[in-house]
């Protein structure tokens, strides 16, 4: 055995546990779901062995999804959700990072406090926000009444923010941005604290004020973090499920009527996938996951192109 072969063997031995987990829990499910996406359940399918008794359907699942208006509605909602959460999330994280990157007293308290929501489960956060947004007894309603908005009796928002087709998705977005901002803040803080103090001093001497330093030094030097947050934000929008499930109590939100179709106002792609699965359209659900993968790859590629044009 040559030295090179022996080294390879040792490396693979040490990699084996990971490879095993990878194959069982990632590679195999990916191929299996690809296989399922080409099959569909029929009335003859046994409920106890659905996957073994599905019928080959070719690309029927894909075509029926792509021809269904509901998919494109979900896609549109997901894009809206992305525009509501990603820029605001980045802005809020950066703002917090800049505010907490100085000699403020109690800054470590604030840093921990803003980060805390990240340790909570999405479902828990969703339930808390249902309580905040609830009409009549919700915190938001009570606060708005205290400052004199809304009628003396009855809720400020008739069915609550989550019960209105126009405000449901933005309300979910607010909850998610506030939950995620702490994590973004930590990323930005790390990046900002990596910028040498003398670079800022050089800028001071070069005649830069606060805004110039922020605009010409901080922003360009935290750009990798912005890119990272855009890409991870995009992926989490495309796979958003728990927040919709929790905050609409598994309904997909109030009914909206785009172009005469009666659809749900918070029916994001990830949730749409889940509904297909819940309704036992396993093949369709699997096909939808590959369609989402295609969307995600396309959007991430565009993101990288836009944000890092200088890359050679």
């Amino acid at each position: 055995m040559t030295k090179g072969m022996r080294e390879n063997l040792v490396s693979y031995t040490f990699l084996a546990p990971f490879l095993l987990v990878f194959v069982i829990f990632l590679a195999y499910p990916v191929f299996y779901s690809a296989w399922i996406s080409l099959h569909k359940t029929t009335i003859y399918t046994s409920w106890y062995y659905p996957f073994s008794e599905m019928k080959f359907a070719g690309f029927e699942n894909y075509t029926s999804l792509l021809l269904d208006f509901e998919l494109w509605w979900s896609f549109f909602l997901t894009i809206c959700y992305g525009f509501l959460t990603i820029p605001t999330g980045i802005f809020l994280s950066l703002l917090l990072a800049v505010l907490l990157d100085n000699k403020l007293k109690g800054k470590s308290f604030f840093r921990s406090a803003f980060f805390l929501p990240n340790v909570l489960d999405l479902f828990v956060v969703g339930v808390i926000w249902i309580l905040i947004f609830a009409p009549e007894f919700g915190l938001l309603d009570i606060l708005l009444k205290k400052i004199g908005l809304g009628a003396e009796s009855g809720p400020v928002f008739e069915k609550g923010l989550l019960g209105n087709a126009w405000t449901c998705l933005p309300a979910i977005a607010v909850a998610m941005v506030l939950k995620g901002a702490g994590f973004g803040m930590i990323l930005f803080l790390t990046a900002i604290q990596n910028i040498s103090q003398s670079v800022y001093e050089a800028a001071d001497i070069d005649g830069a004020g606060w805004w110039h330093k922020f605009r010409h030094i901080t922003i360009p030097l935290v750009k990798p973090i912005i890119l990272f947050m855009v890409i991870t934000g995009t992926i989490s929008c495309l796979t958003a499920f728990t927040e919709v499930y929790a905050m609409t109590i598994n309904t997909g939100g109030p009914t909206a009527n785009p172009f005469g179709h009666s659809l749900r106002a918070a029916n994001l792609l990830g949730y749409h996938l889940y509904r297909n699965f819940q309704d036992a359209y396993y093949g369709k659900a699997a096909a939808l996951s590959f369609i989402i993968l295609a969307f995600a790859s396309l959007i991430s590629w565009i993101n990288i192109r836009i944000i890092q044009p200088r890359r050679k």
Binding site: A202, D204, I205
Partner: protein, 371 residues
């Protein structure tokens, strides 16, 4: 261009760990003339960089007044002081090209693009950076980075240039090259320059005047040769000159009307003016110093005063040699002697080390000059 004047300037830090106030700079009085090249030199923590940063406006001044030109600048922001600074770690903007780095300050001032481009080309020409204008700092060597930092400073034509140990991150050869370039640049720009270094060779070779600092206060201000030949205290004597001045404690003894400096087995007669001064300090303990260049190892001392010693180590440099010998019977206490060319006496042999009595410096125990 303008001069810089310190009037009794002080800087006090609050040390959080020790919970005490620490004076980084004390009673700093200095007038730097217009177009002068002044070097602050001293060991680490002597307050030289703090003083420079006070001129830049990067450190607050605790007490006293600082003038740039005729203007008091204690409370003026760095961007309004019209100074330029070159940092030890270059502090280039890592995301900007060489061209953008140099033009940044002009861009902030709203100067038209065409004019910026022209000035950048001009400065790049002076610093031989034309081939690197579109590179990012990470694609440059240390020396090139430092030239860009200098370019960024000179493009603005400021009233005062500040250099904070600009060569200490470069390798030895590059340091010598850049030192010569800086000297040339000063002639070319005809500008007021304040330069901080801990390297006394840089200080000696570049400065019109040197300010030697220690423990936050000025020890001596003078021309390089002035400091070398006439140190006003023992610290300056040790700090300026390489190898350092040999120093030792000794007793002033008067025997038969002749004044001697006596330290164990060393007994050096003094003459002239120095003897007259030391006569008044008879029987006191003093500190005396002598530079390696005033100790010459030879075979035949003739009628000159010499110490007879074994040479422990000889360092041949080529054009000169340094000979190390133990003094005062203590193994670890080594003195250095110097001679042109090769040493006339070999390592491990007995040499007569001729002492140039004229150039003995005598200090009191609190290190101030006596004679």
């Amino acid at each position: 261009m303008a001069g810089v004047r310190f009037e009794n300037v002080g800087k006090i830090y609050y040390d959080k760990e020790k919970k005490t106030e620490v004076a980084a700079v004390r009673n700093f009085d200095l007038a730097i003339q217009d177009k002068e090249f002044v070097v602050f030199v001293g060991p680490s923590g002597c307050g030289k960089t703090t003083s420079l940063r006070m001129i830049a406006g990067l450190e607050e001044i605790t007490s006293g007044k600082l003038y740039i030109g005729e203007q008091i600048v204690n409370d003026v922001l760095p961007k309004d002081r019209d100074i330029a600074m070159v940092f030890q770690n270059y502090a280039l903007y890592p995301h900007l090209t060489v061209r953008e780095n140099m033009g940044f300050s002009l861009k902030l001032r709203g100067i038209p693009k065409a004019e910026i481009a022209q000035k950048v080309l001009h400065v790049a020409g002076i610093l031989r950076l034309n081939d690197y204008l579109d590179r990012l700092p990470k694609q440059l060597s240390g020396g090139q980075c430092q030239r860009v930092a200098i370019g960024r400073a000179i493009i603005r034509e400021p009233r005062v240039f500040l250099f904070d140990e600009p060569l200490s991150n470069l390798d030895a050869k590059m340091r010598v090259d850049m030192r010569v370039e800086l000297a040339k640049l000063h002639k070319q720009l005809n500008a007021t320059i304040v330069y901080v270094t801990h390297d006394q060779i840089e200080a000696m070779t570049l400065a019109d005047r040197i300010v030697v600092m220690n423990n936050g206060s000025i020890q001596q201000v003078g021309t390089p040769l002035d400091l070398y030949n006439h140190p006003t205290n023992a610290f300056v004597g040790r700090f300026i000159g390489s190898p350092a001045m040999n120093q030792m404690k000794a007793q002033v003894v008067v025997e038969a009307n002749v004044v001697y400096l006596v330290a164990k087995d060393v007994k050096i007669p003094m003459n002239g003016q120095k003897a007259n001064i030391l006569r008044q300090h008879a029987n006191e303990t003093v500190l005396f110093g002598i530079r390696p260049h005033d100790l010459i190892p030879s075979r035949e001392p003739g009628n000159r005063f010499a110490l007879m010693r074994l040479l422990d180590v000889i360092e041949p440099i080529g054009n000169e040699s340094f000979a190390y010998f133990s003094i005062n019977g203590e193994e670890e206490k080594m003195w250095v002697a110097h001679c042109e060319g090769a040493s006339p006496v070999a390592e491990g042999e007995q040499a007569a080390i001729v002492v140039n009595l004229e150039n003995i410096h005598v200090f009191s125990l609190d290190e101030t000059l006596l004679a």
